[in-house]
Symmetry: C2
Subunit: 254 residues, 2 copies
């Protein structure tokens, strides 16, 4: 087992930000300014083409840390952020750009690429979680949640399906095609957000993924708007959902 090694540390905006590595996986851990209080942990998976400190991650982390006192960890997905791209990554990305430029369907490429990244990323998340739980401010007893966006959902659905330590999950829409079987294994509370007028992912496919979750408590949030127009208030909603299920109250919403 690889231990977690902190590499840099800074504070701003009421948060402690510590970069770390677990083996060759680079990650970031955001914590309340005090840094040392034991608190629930939220793992977040970034979107395709983004990285661990992308504003969509840092912004949500700020709400979760300052609003609920949670710790929040994000790791770079394979081929993303500070991680090297393999020849296969380059090839998939080139094909994706070609399809987008030609106005051809990107679905088959994204589904295949995300599925391959998820296969690599699920054991990486488990190793990272093992290492995070060795930290005194997290430990093995605190509840753990997951938030995924796009690729982070493609990784998160198979992760939550097999990882009993994660007890609540927020997923923001992704290509659902290969995830239905994993979704049927998920029984923890789920909040699933999709865009009603998504021009990339068919509405019926999003509804089918929501339908597939075996969770007794699951909520679909469908908002008017295209793929990139997820409303900001969904980030607040995710905070309320995680506060409810990880056992904290929300003291302030950023």
């Amino acid at each position: 087992m690889h231990p977690l090694r902190f590499t840099t540390q800074s504070s701003s905006n009421g948060m402690l930000e510590r970069h770390f590595t677990v083996g060759d996986i680079p990650g970031v851990l955001w914590s309340p300014a005090s840094g040392t209080d034991r608190a629930p942990l939220v793992l977040m998976g970034h979107g395709g083409g983004a990285h661990k400190t992308h504003p969509a991650m840092a912004g949500r982390a700020h709400l979760l840390v300052t609003g609920c006192g949670f710790h929040v960890a994000v790791i770079d997905a394979p081929g993303h952020g500070d991680r090297p791209r393999t020849a296969q990554d380059e090839q998939e990305i080139a094909e994706l750009r070609k399809a987008q430029e030609a106005g051809e369907p990107e679905g088959p490429i994204v589904v295949r690429y995300n599925a391959r990244l998820a296969e690599l990323a699920v054991p990486e998340w488990q190793a990272t979680l093992d290492a995070l739980q060795q930290l005194p401010e997290i430990g093995a007893e605190e509840p753990i949640g997951y938030v995924g966006i796009g690729l982070g959902t493609a990784v998160g659905v198979p992760l939550v399906a097999i990882e009993p330590r994660i007890t609540a999950a927020v997923f923001v829409s992704t290509w659902p095609d290969v995830l239905l079987e994993n979704a049927q294994q998920i029984t923890v509370p789920v909040e699933f957000a999709m865009q009603w007028d998504d021009e990339r992912i068919p509405r019926e496919a999003g509804l089918a993924l929501f339908d597939a979750f075996a969770s007794k408590e699951k909520t679909l949030h469908a908002n008017a708007g295209t793929h990139m127009e997820l409303p900001r208030f969904e980030a607040d909603s995710a905070v309320g959902f995680l506060a409810r299920h990880l056992g904290r109250s929300v003291t302030a919403l950023g």
Copy 2:
């Protein structure tokens, strides 16, 4: 125009509760304990077989009044609460009970009955709103929202479709069949909640109603569970939605 006459007044739980009549329509107005500060107004429509002070109304009013400082008004629907039932009401209710006991589809009866009640209730709501806006603590300038549950949605969709004073609406699922045309006239922000496993109202019908709203900002909340299992957190969500659109911040959630 009938003026609003207050009949009884009491205070509890941080709220002032005043019963009133507008002509022969009985209603209740809940306000912050001070009672006199000008603030936005939320109209709420109760469910079929319920009445103006049903816990589903009083509970939501408490969240809206103590959380946002809003005024909240509910009137009894025709044939409900303190209002007399006509022979036609009695006949519809008898038919509904018969269908329910025989395990036959209640949809056609509920749709027809709700549509008839909505025809009566829409002008009643407009007269009530005229009278409420004469009160110094409401006035004609404050923004107005609407919250409807079941029958309250069957009344609210045609009301919001024609009433420009209402600028944001929360609807909880109802039989949507006759409402699609009215929904297409609605352009204000809408939050629409339905039950994913509703045993009475077909899922596709609920999704079709959400799809029909012409609002640029609309959010569907679909929760796992049967018709009567709407989660309590949807009431909190409605408070956040109305706070956002009527221009108040939420200071505390009950």
